[in-house]
């Protein structure tokens, strides 16, 4: 049984714009799936279905159970969602309070939440930022703290939208190394195919709200014709043979 199974998922925004038109894909436990596709392909919309924030028509199953049958708190503790813009993810006055937000909502006692938050901040190399205001951090620091806010909820699956966007090369390398060291099942939506190649076992291409191809990352990311057909290009390390 796949950890996550999506079957024929459709979704349209209230203004009638169709975002998903029959998405089907699976993610196995402990694996990493890269979700790639051109702008407006529906990647972010699809991610919001995984922890029940959006509800379309079709089936989304986590651990074999339809998401609508999950208690919302349990589902959000199982699927950790990291947003594209860390400024949207960080909203509390200090980093520590932000990282504690999820654990406190899970019912942890304040001391326990504080302990867990500090441990997670330490694991992402951001313990010294605990008392800082999130909106005063650099882009790289914000990314690490945003990741900590999700890890503090101890999710089984990490769903990450564009984790290295707008980072300098050093910050990008740091975040990739950090994500590579995490044991959770991961779904990573990105245009950065080099990063997807480094982090993901499998890749699913999303185009016009459908998944025309899903398969091993090394195989799909080396298929120039397939990538070009869906508005993508070979990652630099796979060019020229």
């Amino acid at each position: 049984m796949s950890l996550i199974a999506i079957d024929d998922l459709h979704f349209a925004w209230p203004d009638g714009t169709r975002a998903l038109s029959g998405v089907s894909l699976t993610v196995e436990d402990g694996r990493s799936l890269g979700l790639i596709g051109r702008n407006g392909a529906g990647k972010s919309t699809l991610l919001l279905h995984l922890n029940g924030i959006l509800h379309g028509w079709g089936a989304v199953r986590v651990q074999g159970r339809p998401v609508e049958d999950w208690p919302a708190d349990d589902l959000r503790a199982t699927i950790g969602l990291l947003f594209e813009d860390p400024e949207d993810q960080l909203f509390m006055p200090t980093v520590l309070e932000d990282v504690c937000f999820g654990p406190l909502n899970q019912g942890l006692a304040p001391d326990e939440a504080r302990g867990r938050a500090m441990a997670v901040l330490d694991s992402v190399g951001a313990a010294e930022l605990a008392d800082r205001a999130p909106h005063h951090l650099s882009a790289g620091q914000m990314r690490r703290v945003a990741l900590a806010t999700v890890l503090a909820m101890q999710p089984r699956v990490l769903v990450i939208d564009e984790p290295v966007m707008a980072l300098d090369p050093e910050g990008r390398e740091e975040v990739i190394a950090l994500l590579a060291g995490l044991p959770q099942t991961k779904i990573i939506a990105s245009h950065d195919l080099e990063m997807v190649l480094a982090l993901c076992d499998e890749v699913a291409i999303l185009d016009a709200g459908r998944v025309p191809a899903q398969g091993p990352a090394r195989e799909l990311l080396a298929d120039d014709a397939l990538l070009r057909a869906h508005g993508l290009r070979l990652p630099p390390s796979l060019r020229n043979g």
Partner: protein, 257 residues
């Protein structure tokens, strides 16, 4: 400099005032402001005593005098207007008349005005020292710890964060506009300003939606969770009690005298 960098500019200095627990500072500042505002008009020297206290705190805090002065300037229009109006209040009797540079003023009215202006200025100085020597996050936590509803402090926190972010965004839009040449004519300028405002509002709503999604994704169910703060150090609590007692004693002695 980004707009949000203007907040908490001097809140991280290593002074003894900065190191104090925010709740202790909040209680002391509140006591001082209440005493200042309650000072009777007939006791101007009481204000001098409070001013001395505030100046000592300001010196201990190490906050730049220029920065403090800039924050006090907000009172200037009120003080100037009141001063201009003063010669138009006639003396009630001969004993009330007061000659100043050839202008006849009502002594009673001038004393009331000095007292009101002085009280406002000192209360604002107390608030400036409190907010200057405390981070906005610590101040919000202190306000929450002293019983202000969590929803209110959370909303204030959002306002501080996102008004600053909005200010930064507006600044970037202005730069982008300027970099594409000068807009000529008042009408065109107003149209550009209106469209920028509309864009800012639309972006604000979109950002609010994204933040709400991020909160829901981390288990938010309509009630803001709070980290309970550690206890304030006993020595600081004792110092706060002593400070409030001193303020009360000065007030009581002053009013009785």
């Amino acid at each position: 400099m980004l707009a949000h960098d203007l907040l908490d500019t001097w809140a991280h200095l290593p002074s003894p005032v900065h190191r104090l627990d925010a709740r202790v500072k909040l209680v002391c500042a509140t006591a001082l402001v209440v005493a200042i505002l309650a000072t009777p008009v007939a006791r101007p020297w009481l204000l001098a005593a409070y001013a001395a206290m505030l100046l000592a705190i300001a010196a201990a805090s190490g906050l730049p005098a220029g920065w403090i002065a800039k924050r006090l300037v907000i009172l200037a229009p009120f003080l100037v207007l009141g001063t201009i109006a003063l010669p138009f209040v006639p003396p009630t009797e001969t004993a009330d008349a007061w000659q100043l540079a050839g202008i006849e003023l009502s002594r009673g009215a001038a004393l009331v005005w000095l007292s009101v202006g002085g009280r406002c200025l000192l209360a604002l100085l107390a608030a400036t020292l409190l907010t200057g020597a405390t981070t906005s996050a610590a101040l919000l936590r202190a306000v929450g710890a002293l019983g202000v509803p969590r929803t209110l402090t959370a909303l204030t926190g959002f306002a501080i964060t996102y008004l600053a972010a909005l200010g930064d965004e507006a600044g970037r839009m202005m730069t982008a506009r300027r970099s594409r040449g000068r807009v000529r004519g008042l009408g065109r300028n107003l149209r550009v300003a209106a469209s920028m405002l509309a864009t800012l509002m639309a972006r604000t709503v979109e950002r609010a939606e994204r933040i709400a999604l991020a909160m829901v994704a981390r288990g938010y169910r309509g009630r803001m969770p709070a980290l309970t703060s550690e206890r304030a150090p006993a020595a600081e609590v004792v110092a706060a009690v002593a400070f409030v007692a001193a303020v009360a004693a000065v007030f009581w002695l002053g009013v009785r005298a």
